[in-house]
């Protein structure tokens, strides 16, 4: 499973399982779009008419984030903090301070819904398994 697949499927699951958090995420994001590239694969996150969604495009985003799947795994598993990943260059982010703050608030809503449902958790387990395989191969 790639990061774009994870995000697109997880947002659909969030909308089904935790519509309140999906709406709050869309409200927080407003007009700010986010292009995320993980292991070279791009996905764009945005809200439209109060509905959160993602598509496979990294272009023309207000905020751009570039990282690797092993960094994503370390962040979600609690082994690393976002600030540490940024400071060490493992995660690069471009955007105005205001837009970056907006993305952080939207992320909090996403996570608040995700930890309350079972589907996103199961997706995450599949993603982590795939990500660990990817970078184990890289290091061989």
């Amino acid at each position: 499973m790639t990061f774009p697949e994870l995000l697109i499927t997880a947002l659909a699951a969030l909308d089904r399982e935790a519509p309140h958090y999906a709406r709050e995420m869309a409200r927080a994001l407003g007009a700010v779009s986010v292009g995320i590239t993980v292991d070279g694969e791009a996905v764009r996150l945005r809200a439209s008419s109060g509905v959160i969604g993602a598509d496979r495009s990294g272009d023309n985003a207000c905020v751009r984030i570039v990282t690797r799947s092993d960094t994503v795994v370390d962040l979600v598993d609690g082994r690393s903090r976002i600030v540490d990943a940024v400071e060490t260059g493992r995660l690069q982010a471009w955007g105005t301070p205001s837009d970056l703050e907006t993305v952080d608030v939207a992320l909090q809503h996403f996570l608040s819904g995700a930890v309350r449902g079972s589907n996103v958790r199961e997706l995450w387990i599949r993603y982590r398994r795939a990500a660990c395989g990817t970078h184990a191969k890289d290091e061989e």
Partner: protein
């Protein structure tokens, strides 16, 4: 350890009180059941916490999901700090026997057999494996109907003192346990996380088995910690419960601010939702109990904390259980007999 009749009646009292209740959901009753078997081993240089937990699942909006879910919490604290975490395998990979003391969650299990709790941990993802045998020393005590909100109640079976032998391997480091003091309890009831309650509870167990005193204390407050609802200090001498101090007999004082350098937060994803190192754990917790010529004083000082972070059932907030390793000094006089000891312990501070 004991003459056979005592050992036999002790075992019987555990079988009669500690069996898994299971969710009444299957019987068509209201959802909201939570239940766990909790074990803590504390001896110099090591604290191990293992919790087998079963609950009615809720959906992301806090509504009953019509199914159960299981979680295993396995945490170990040594000179390298806390490690371990939480696993939540699918229900199909769980086995729990209502009416018995037997449960398996993923690769880990607990079973009561031949008068001993046998715990086997197989959690490679948490970097924690082990095999332990816990032998009860004291008779249990049971407290029913702790109020945790309107029509919400929790029950508490506590077995304050066991001795533990076995091996635990954490991060590749092998810990051999030989006669280490241990505590066990079992909570069950129908309640939600994030209600108008908080608690502090802990235990004091002497390192030497020949030292007869065992102590458990509890203070329950409203969510903000302003109003005390229930206070209790339970004292055992050898196998039997000797003294119970309640409510007005008990004074609980938190003093100072404690700044841990690091907090081990589990599950790891919760670090993104609850970052930082602020806690509700004070620099010192003092429990004083007095009545009818008896008195007891426990002073706890923390040294390392792991946070188990749980989403609230009814709102967007989080409940944080601070599993706090440290040292407790206990001194008292019961029935004219004075005693004191210092020991390692884990005190739990539950708060928002």
């Amino acid at each position: 350890m004991f003459a056979l009749p005592l050992q036999s009646s002790l075992g019987r009292s555990i079988e009669l009180g500690d069996y898994l209740r299971r969710s009444p959901l299957r019987l068509g009753e209201a959802p909201g059941h939570k239940e766990w078997l909790h074990f803590v081993v504390s001896s110099p240089g090591i604290h191990l916490l293992v919790n087998f937990s079963f609950a009615d699942a809720t959906d992301a909006s806090g509504r009953p999901a019509g199914r159960e879910e299981a979680r295993l919490i396995a945490l170990l604290c040594d000179s390298d700090g806390w490690t371990g975490g939480v696993t939540a395998p699918p229900w199909s990979d769980t086995s729990v026997v209502g009416g018995a003391i037997a449960a398996r969650i993923g690769g880990s299990q607990v079973v009561w057999r031949d008068g001993v709790f046998a715990i086997d941990l197989d959690e490679p993802e948490l970097d924690l494996t082990g095999s332990l045998r816990l032998h009860p020393v004291t008779f249990p005590s049971v407290v029913h109907n702790f109020p945790l909100g309107p029509d919400r109640r929790m029950h508490w079976f506590m077995l304050p003192r066991l001795w533990c032998s076995g091996t635990v391997v954490a991060r590749g480091r092998v810990h051999e346990l030989r006669g280490a003091p241990a505590y066990h309890d079992h909570n069950w009831g129908a309640f939600g996380w994030g209600g108008d309650y908080s608690w502090q509870w802990g235990f004091g167990l002497p390192e030497m088995l020949a030292d007869p005193w065992s102590v458990v204390f509890l203070a329950m407050h409203d969510r903000r910690g302003h109003h005390a609802d229930v206070r209790g200090v339970f004292v055992w001498r050898h196998a039997r419960e000797k003294r119970l101090f309640r409510d007005r007999d008990v004074r609980v004082t938190s003093s100072g601010v404690w700044y841990p350098e690091h907090i081990h937060k589990v599950p790891g994803v919760m670090r993104l939702l609850a970052p930082g190192t602020a806690t509700s754990v004070p620099a010192q917790l003092t429990i004083e109990a007095r009545g009818h010529g008896d008195e007891l004083r426990c002073v706890f000082r923390p040294c390392a904390v792991a946070q188990i972070i749980v989403p609230n059932d009814a709102d967007a907030g989080l409940t944080i259980l601070n599993e706090t390793a440290g040292e407790v000094h206990v001194e008292g006089r019961i029935d004219g007999e004075s005693f004191q000891f210092d020991s390692e312990t884990v005190v739990e501070f539950l708060g928002a």
